[in-house]
Symmetry: D2
Subunit: 347 residues, 4 copies
């Protein structure tokens, strides 16, 4: 196989991060996140987002971060509003429900929530016989590769807060969203939105493992480490997550430049495919593309490249998912476009 566009976690760890770990591996550090590197990483993260009083915790993966964070927000009878395509709703094997909470999902063609969709969710739940919607789950960028503009995100966050809802943002790929110039959203503007909790992902942005959860709502801070411990999210050697994020958020803003590379290569890939007449259902914004291709072409490409067959369509076409990452190079992209070109020339 020439190259795999399956996802953004098939690559190893970015060399700079590995070097930083190697350089700071010696010596003892307190366990369970009480080490100097977690403190340093937390400081750099609160600086980057302009949220000086926030608590920052490091958890091993996205699912456990979502579950620990959201469940800590909710009383037993409360639920969380999510787009139907939300990661918690479709790709976490019922992890949130396993903590006892309902996901109140609403259909959203582009994976985003809006004030109207929140209203639709609220309209279904109104008395003591129903779950109480208490929080809103957003993903930036979404699972469909789209992303909220600054205006859209500002509006939906303000709307949710007006309606008494807490706001949680799943930022597994937040670095990609914040690296898109067209979205016009800086990290500090993102931090100033008044989110109650959000996380910024390391796993999909060059790290070994681990996500950084930021809690800005003071009511949600106490005892959060108890929640983490109970959900199995408290890592004994937290120092290694601290080291990864300390490096990602160092003064060269590695976290944003890695996101930027993923986006740029996706943009190049998109342009190349569009030039060849390939159609896209959703206009790509970050590092995920969903081109629609004739089934024979999909079959041909799958001999040389890895990608996910996202959804079979009715008319002999399939929507596939192509993901670029911090490690994708121009030649990977060029190879794929060339392969499409020559396959189309054969037909």
């Amino acid at each position: 196989m020439k190259y795999n566009f399956l996802d953004d976690y098939s690559e190893g760890v970015h060399p700079e991060i590995l070097r930083y770990i190697t350089d700071h591996n010696d010596g003892q550090q307190l366990g369970y996140g009480h080490d100097a590197y977690c403190a340093l990483a937390a400081h750099r993260i609160t600086e980057a987002f302009g949220v000086p009083g926030a608590d920052v915790h490091f958890l091993p993966n996205g699912t456990i971060t979502n579950v620990t964070g959201l469940a800590a927000m909710l009383k037993p009878f409360e639920g969380v509003i999510s787009p139907s395509t939300g990661h918690i709703n479709v790709h976490e094997a019922g992890a949130l429900e396993a903590t006892g909470h309902k996901i109140i999902w609403v259909d959203s063609p582009d994976g985003k929530l809006t004030p109207d969709l929140i209203d639709e969710a609220l309209s279904r739940y109104h008395d003591e016989h129903t779950v109480v919607p208490r929080a809103v789950y957003l993903t930036q960028p979404t699972e469909l590769g789209t992303a909220y503009t600054k205006a859209e995100l500002t509006e939906v966050v303000a709307d949710a807060k007006r309606k008494g809802l807490l706001v949680y943002v799943d930022g597994a790929r937040l670095p990609m969203a914040l690296a898109v110039p067209a979205l016009d959203l800086t990290p500090k503007e993102f931090g100033a939105l008044g989110l109650d909790m959000f996380y910024v992902g390391g796993t999909k942005n060059g790290g070994l493992y681990g996500e950084a959860l930021v809690i800005t709502n003071p009511d949600l801070k106490p005892n959060f480490r108890h929640h983490m411990k109970q959900r199995g999210a408290l890592m004994a050697k937290g120092r290694f997550m601290g080291l990864q994020f300390a490096r990602l958020f160092d003064s060269d803003n590695l976290w944003l430049s890695l996101g930027d590379n993923a986006n740029r290569q996706a943009t190049r890939l998109h342009a190349g495919l569009q030039e060849l007449g390939v159609k896209f259902d959703v206009e790509p914004v970050t590092n995920q593309l969903f081109p629609i291709m004739p089934d024979p072409l999909v079959k041909r490409l799958s001999e040389d490249f890895g990608f996910f067959e996202w959804q079979p369509l009715d008319d002999g076409h399939t929507m596939i998912r192509l993901v670029c990452s911090w490690a994708t190079t121009s030649s990977h992209v060029d190879d794929f476009v060339a392969a499409v070109r020559s396959a189309l020339a054969l037909t």
Copy 2:
């Protein structure tokens, strides 16, 4: 207020049932359902449905019956497919999710599941990152007052079983469905469908409290009383539920005649309203009607009658819910129709 069409549990207990309890109140009986009356009622129920080997348990209400029955069917990562309007999905305050399981709901305009809707649900969940759909939740009649015909129910049950799914039927109002001649479905035919579990309601059909859960799938029988105890569904004085169901399923088939009365009065009410030009969104089949009325008429009627304002519509109309019960009489119905007639005459 003249009369309340709010629901079918605003009335007391049917006099025959109360008499039966009074007549058999003396003396001691073993606790927790090990009494003679539970045995008698179980026997009569298995006879009525033609399921001689089935286990029958008595639980205090519908929500706890659904939760105990469904959770006992599922491994932690498994979910249950339900119409979006299913009682477990909207009117049980997240009770099933509180046991850790996802409800996989699909939109159904008439509240019924079909093979196509099951396919839609299955298509969303296919690998280790998703919940595994394991069971199907049907309501007969549905929460919208519609009901499966024999052909429809046979088809959807056979389809679900072919797809490896367990089938659970919520029969809170099952007596009403089985009392509708047009559905062409006898209790024995219902029992022969091959359902894995179903319950027949007492609360909404003249009882004090309690539902009878019938387990026909032998794999689901062992330790079911442990599940009941753990969910708080095992009643110390089970004898009183045994007595109610022994009387309901006595040779005069009181359970069916009470359902029949509820249906008949609803049919009369429907005819009377239709004659006055009132529109219905869903064609009523059992004892629940959902007429659409102008808001001023709704307001006028609410001064003298109780009913639930189900859904505000866009154009100055409201869909209301009118429920007839085992205790509704012809004069209750006539009063309501007369009130509509005179209100319409005023406008």
Copy 3:
């Protein structure tokens, strides 16, 4: 069998309660506890305990009351301290754990908690790696038939509150405890203890089913009906529990006189057995006796009487449990004592 001393729920319902239900069966009442009888019963209960601002809810049985009440007090990582013999710890099939909470049990020979035992429990749990003890579960009288005196209960409640713990009292047999003159504890004194939540049982004191949960802590009142609905504890025809408790707490204090009968017959039984030389491990205070008898005597008695073989002892003796109830008469007791006497005479 002559008579069954197995428990206090083998009898039917007290005739006065059944009459009251029959007299108030006609007519419609709002569902789900919004009826006039629940309101009346709640009023009478708050009067009896001198807690005018308390919320009163009616739930179908003891296990679901314990689970709903305690789980509503606790955050996910919090646990409840209980004597090892506590009903929640040994006889509810893990119902509280099924809501996600740990029971922190301490060994107590007489079934009571003390400040020292609370300290022992607290000493085990002290950092973010452990459950946080948040509430104390007491039973009055205990599962061993013992009961807290006014002084004991006052001390342990004050101690728990000083330590920042919430206090919950399981009163499945509270009427028996409050009917014991020697305990010197009136209902109003009980109500003035500052408990956060307690329930008074109907099932074991002459009712059909149902327990009355009293919430005095204002922080625990909001949304409690959501908790009830989610746990399956909200009964559609709540009126029948309202009727039972309205009658029990009517001006003749039926609830206390039924408890008093159970106690008196147990005292007579105790005196009769003691006169015959039968030993008791725990000194009985209310309506449960735990005599120790030689195995052949136990075998002989079990031919004519029902009772629970509580615990086999090492030396050919067995501790049995004898329970008197509101329905036990002097002749039931005399028969049993006579049977013991004649069996002993044979040996």
Copy 4:
């Protein structure tokens, strides 16, 4: 501070493991444990334990491994028997209870289970009102630093299986136990015991993070990855856990030599302290020591060394915990012993 004997996870990662990761960081691998390194590590682990057909999964930490493994063994009403000092019982913040299961704990002075203690646990739970004990949780070595000999472990495992219980071994420090010559237990003998599930720890034995769970019981294998995903235990970049364990289980048996170093240094430390007259409550076997020291000595030592004050004793003494690790050297130990010697000389 000179050196920290707090635990075995304060150190970084062993240089050989870090080098192995660095050497195999390039290139793409399938996500979620489908990579070549997880396969290699799994192969080496099954070889080492002589369990060729076993499934091996890699999870990020011990708590989530215990929770995922044990919860997958249990039906909702089933519980697990554990010594009171078991990690799941006291140091996981109620994580297992959060999945709905009761921990049935029994007091064990040395942290081990025995057939008698299993009987004691079983005797408490016997009918439908109680939890059903279904599994046994053992730790090798225990949380108190003791360890089962081959004979003890063989006996308790056989006894549990005879009683119909599943057996789970928490091996967070299994390498230390298997490296103790006196225990006479080889990895292959351990593998041949017939355990249903066990894990071998990486975090406490030189790794960055991650534990290897081995499932030998074929009934527990299906859908285990669904359980992992739902509990948040499925890591996207599983390759890095695969790499760590592939190196630990390489032909030089690094996993055992690291455990051996931890044990040896603990033995030296024990000998040095004993020579100075320090007493020990439990005789140490592996890498954890629990010396009892006068409080002034504890205070003096804490100025230069890190350790955990395990338990205050009544008479002005404190039991402390000293842990040696793969990284502890002879000079660390000598420094500590010298510090004790000079402190004692001062008094």
